[in-house]
Amino acid sequence: MSTFLFELKEGLLISLRAIRANKVRAILTTIGIVIGITSVVLMSTAIKGIDNAFQTGVSSLGSDNLYIDKWEWFNNDIPFWELRNRKNLELSDYEKYKELAKLPLAVAPTVWTNQTVKYKERTVESILIQGTNQDYIGTTNLTFDEGRFFNELESNGGRQICVIGFEIAKNLFPRGNAINQDIKIRGQKFKVIGVLSEQGSWVMGNFNPDRQVFMPIGNVFKYFQSQSFRSITINVKAQNSLIVEDTKEEAIGIMRRIRGLKYNEKNDFSINQQEGLLTTINQTVGVIQIAGLFITSLSLFVGAVGIMNIMFVSVKERTKEIGIRKAIGAKRRSILGQFITESAIICLLGGLVGLILAVLLSMVVNQFLPTTVQADTVIMAIVISLLTGVISGFAPAYTASKLDPVEALRYE
């Protein structure tokens, strides 16, 4: 062990001398590794950022939420025609379910439509209008910047009121004061009674609550589409995540009863949950990850080949030196160690510079996609650059260690 440490220390000193003697070459060689490490670190940081954005986005669906729907949201196993032929879910189904279900914390019907929302000369397009009732807020974790959600009376009475998402409020009312203003949707006026706080689920696109308008479900049927036209969704919130599965089983049972299905008939409805989306997202992020890291590791590979190339040149150039060292007693192991250490140091320095560059660049990326270089990425980068050095230095070092001292001494 102590001989190993001794040789490591002496190897390091010898390598540092050699690198110092060839500064320009070392710097030029390092650039390949710098670029490689920078891109690998930046890519893995960006992928983490994307993944985080997805996870935050998905969390707006709620981990203990179930969505009873005609459609299967995330799973493509059931053929489209079968889904299409299912009976629509109607408000009456919701009422029966609500009456029979014991486990849920809250249940609310929802129906949606895409509309343009206006306030005076300001317009926001393709906004998801969610029609629902007073119980909806209980099925979500939504919080308010101002105002409140509509109550049972307002919901049943079909008052022309609404709650708007953070982004809509920002666009339509840049100076604030949205409460009690009338926004226009398809010529109908709706009074804003609440503004939601920001959810940041931008990856969800139109399903991001920041870009939604909520109003009593009756208004949607009355002004935008007939009840028979579109199936509703029943939002169910379980009491806690431990009994989500039980709640789901109960929901399946109740829905089968409501639909009057025989034991050998398949469900003609779907119970959707966050998990399904998570699976899809994890697959997508997985693909991005593999593709991204593959492409960036190509640049690292190019850098490694550069190091290997220059180490071969260096060995050739220093044949005489190797001969001298061998003549005065350097073993093969010492020569092998010397050149591997040299290439490892060059790569490590490159890796560190690359890391610093990546941290700086990630600050720029952070403006578009929330990202930070994390500790495990830093460790990964250091380990990878060291490994690159050892691997790409091995072949040249091995060549050097095998040189015949007589031949090497004669080399000019």
Partner: protein, 240 residues
């Protein structure tokens, strides 16, 4: 006591389809404290003999015992250890590491012997002092004259206290005057009881030694003691 015992050694190279007998059949003994010159024209096999004696190369046939240990079949690493501990090399072209100062060059064999840094520096300084270069420790080879470079190389050869010093044409790249100084230094080293093997093709250099072995065509032509040995005058550069 025998340091070197060689019996019927041959070194055969394969050049194309032809076999070249660089050494055909050589037997010799060298005792501790001897000062031997190996002479011969080019192609006589003296370089090959030197490589074999210096454990840089192994013979194709025959036995080579170094201090009663058979080294003729040793592998690279074992030979490296022998070279490191037992043999000090002095070359015609000095063979110093160009980017390292005198001290580091002299230290080098001690690094491979696994000696810790402080002791290394101490011994390297002493060795440089021996050859009269204590004021040049931090000069790089290109800042030193030819004679000074060869002195650094001699210090490097001496620093491990080897059993033999093997000098291959040590004055070949030096002018006559400097060459004389170096030969004087070898004389002093020999007087200290060191064993020296000098390879040269010049008669007047060989005559510094006590015994001359003449090679021709890979065979020993003559092995004789020098009757009129040339003793150079001490010039005072060294502190031996």
């Amino acid at each position: 006591m025998n340091i070197i015992y060689i019996e019927h050694i041959a070194k055969i190279y394969q050049v194309g389809s032809e076999e070249v007998h660089a050494l055909a059949d050589v037997s010799l003994n060298i005792d501790k404290g001897e000062y031997v010159a190996i002479m011969g024209p080019s192609g006589s096999g003296k370089s090959t003999l030197m490589n074999v004696l210096g454990c840089l190369d192994t013979p194709t046939k025959g036995i080579y015992n170094f201090k009663n240990v058979n080294v003729s079949q040793m592998n690279d690493n074992e030979l490296a250890t022998i070279r490191n501990k037992e043999i000090g090399f002095v070359f015609q072209t000095f063979n110093l590491l160009p980017r390292s100062d005198a001290l580091h060059n002299v230290e080098l064999p001690l690094i491979y012997a696994g000696i810790p840094s402080s002791e290394r520096k101490e011994r390297a300084r002493l060795a440089l002092d021996h050859v009269g270069l204590s004021d040049r420790t931090h000069h790089k080879p290109n800042e030193l004259s030819g004679g000074q470079r060869q002195r650094v190389a001699i210090a490097r050869a001496l620093v491990t206290n080897p059993s033999i010093i093997l000098a291959d044409e040590p004055t070949g790249n030096l002018d006559t005057k400097t060459g004389e100084d170096i030969m004087a230094l070898f004389n002093e080293i020999s007087d200290q009881g060191n064993t020296i093997i000098l390879v040269t093709h010049e008669e007047y250099i060989a005559e510094h030694a006590a015994r001359i072995i003449r090679l021709r065509d890979g065979l020993i032509e003559k092995d004789e003691n020098v009757t009129k040995r040339f003793i150079p005058k001490k010039n005072g550069t060294s502190k031996l």
